[in-house]
Amino acid sequence: MSVKIYVPCDAAAVSVGADAVARAIAEQIASRRLGISVVRNGSRGMFWLEPLVEVETPQGRVAYGPVSVDAVSGLFDARFLEGKAHALRLGPTEEIPFLKRQERLTFARCGVTDPLSLSDYVSHGGYRGLEKALKLTQQTIVEEVTTSGLRGRGGAGFPTGIKWRTVLNAPADQKYIVCNGDEGDSGTYADRMIMEGDPFVLIEGMTIAGIAVGATSGYIYIRSEYPHAFRTLERAITIANDKGYLGANVAGSGKRFDLVVRLGAGAYICGEETSLLESLEGKRGQIRFKPPLPAISGLFGKPTVVNNVISLATVPIILDKGGEYYKNFGMGKSRGTLTIQLAGNIKRGGLVEKAFGLTLREAIYDFGGGTASGRPLRAVQVGGPLGAYFPESLLDTPLDYEAFAERKGMLGHGGIVVFDDTVDLARQARFAMEFCAVESCGKCTPCRVGSTRGVEVIDRIIANQDRMQNLELLDDLCEVLTDGSLCALGGLIPFPVQSAIRHFPEDFHKPAPPPPTNGSSKAQESQSWR
């Protein structure tokens, strides 16, 4: 067996030096005249250990990390190629507790394989789902997905199988599969990791979706903040086309499926499915009225499946192992696994794929190890910028769609942002409104105008101007936003605002801060931003 060294090419790993480490390793290999190849794999999702270098030994893969350029020569000297001891040695990768306690179904290959090696993909179970799907009728494929209980992982949690059935039953000359890769929520990066670390699983999932509903064309819409993911998917699609897994004759089945990647242009709202469709059509990303649902009239007015990256990337394993297998993970109406993303002020930030039902506390402490700063945890925001802020006392909430909804929260895409006791929740509430003002598409008045009014009202509350009246006014405003907005941006922005007031009232009753000295208020900054 030839020795291989793995250095992740994932953007997050690269952001802390993985490219430089890979170069340093290549230089050592050359100068020491070793016949070793360096594989650029995806990330295992243990970001506090990045750059995480793995060596393939007869006993399996052994991990070292976080590896700096300066440490590389010493690793060779310490015979890390044989898995020998070194201060950075973490032991067999699969035995690292953070990884060992996970249930990786969607992320089974991420970090294990070379993302752009189709032979790696196939030898690690890839394209088995498609192979099975090609032997089934369209109805049976949809049935399998329905049985699995898979719900949209983008945040809304709508049953995927039902969406597919609607598109399957909609008569049309052309249908589309659209993948929503506009992962704009802060605290989330699972989509990015899959697109960069295992792009073929997304391609396979979309191909199965196309065959299931009778769509011959697919689009992946990726946000422009993800240039690495965009480049990886473009290359993966070219490879899949060359090898006959995409195009006029998918895997020799005689069925067509074409796939295209499109780049967004920096608009949070384009993560909303109808805005995304407008953007794909070359228009302003303003949301559409619903109905009609995209499943009936979507891209270019045709029946369209719009699914999140993780939803689509989970389809291959459901088809491979069966809906029943997948359904056996999870709790209540949340079936299968959730890709939890530990983010923000957290000691061990990273991706945890685990059956629904783990509590927030287990995720943050057992996996995440508490705050990065070492200070007490004060608040967590789950589900992105539209998710509620929870206090310590709600940490025993299980990660389950319904359990979060019961506590006026939102599980969303599974991103967990941890804050220590330096956080000021009045500032966070203000930021929520400010973010909504910056990113509102402008179509409906509650969101377009209400968000700016929200910033002003919270400013007055912070400044202790008619505080009680303004808190009441803010409550009214939130009600208008909740009931009157057309989509989730305006409709859910009251979640972070009202949860902050509910759980952290003391932050809204502090003495007014002294006026800013340099005259550059945050409001001016945000307005001057464009």
């Binding site: 802060s186 990015r192 903040e225 949070y268 530990l342």
Partner: protein, 159 residues
């Protein structure tokens, strides 16, 4: 580092023509032109409108909707700094203020010498390694004030 060409209507038109056949071609065209010239010159609007059979207002409306599209040339280096929640929890606001003070600009502005354009972004998907910034298309994590200074210094050396 920017390597864009000066605005050239003929080149622009040929890029537009290459892409006009795409369904929903406007965004790919705008991206292509911005990649080529670093910004979208106002002279591009009638060219695109003509080829795609859209009104000037429709093209302008799309350009102005998306935060990425710029209507004037950016600085030599483009620094995007994340100010979303995960980065806030790790102190991005004070790091951003430090960069603003050092470069003498606010978010959304370009330094007087044209060396840096500094923009806010909301999430770069590097939320386990916050604070995150992107400099000239390269992502960086755990960006303290010192790391930010180092990145700016390095960019200046390669100006």
């Amino acid at each position: 580092m920017s390597k864009e060409q000066a605005w050239d209507a003929d080149r622009a038109l040929s890029r537009i023509r290459e892409l006009e056949h795409l369904p929903g071609a406007l965004l790919p065209i705008l991206h292509a032109l911005q990649d080529e010239f670093g910004y979208l010159d106002k002279a591009a609007v009638p060219l695109i409108a003509e080829v795609l059979n859209l009104s000037h207002a429709e093209v302008h409306g799309v350009i102005s909707f998306y935060h990425d599209f710029r209507r004037s040339p950016p600085g030599k280096h483009l620094l995007k700094m994340c100010r979303a929640e995960a980065c806030q929890s790790m102190g991005c606001e004070s790091m951003i203020r430090h960069v603003e003070d050092r470069l003498g600009v606010h978010l959304g502005e370009t330094t007087e010498d044209g060396a840096f354009t500094v923009d806010a972004v909301y999430c770069l998907g590097n939320c386990a390694l916050s604070p995150a910034v992107m400099l000239d298309g390269k992502l960086y994590g755990r960006v303290s004030r010192e790391v930010a200074d180092f990145l700016i210094d390095s960019a200046q050396r390669h100006a």
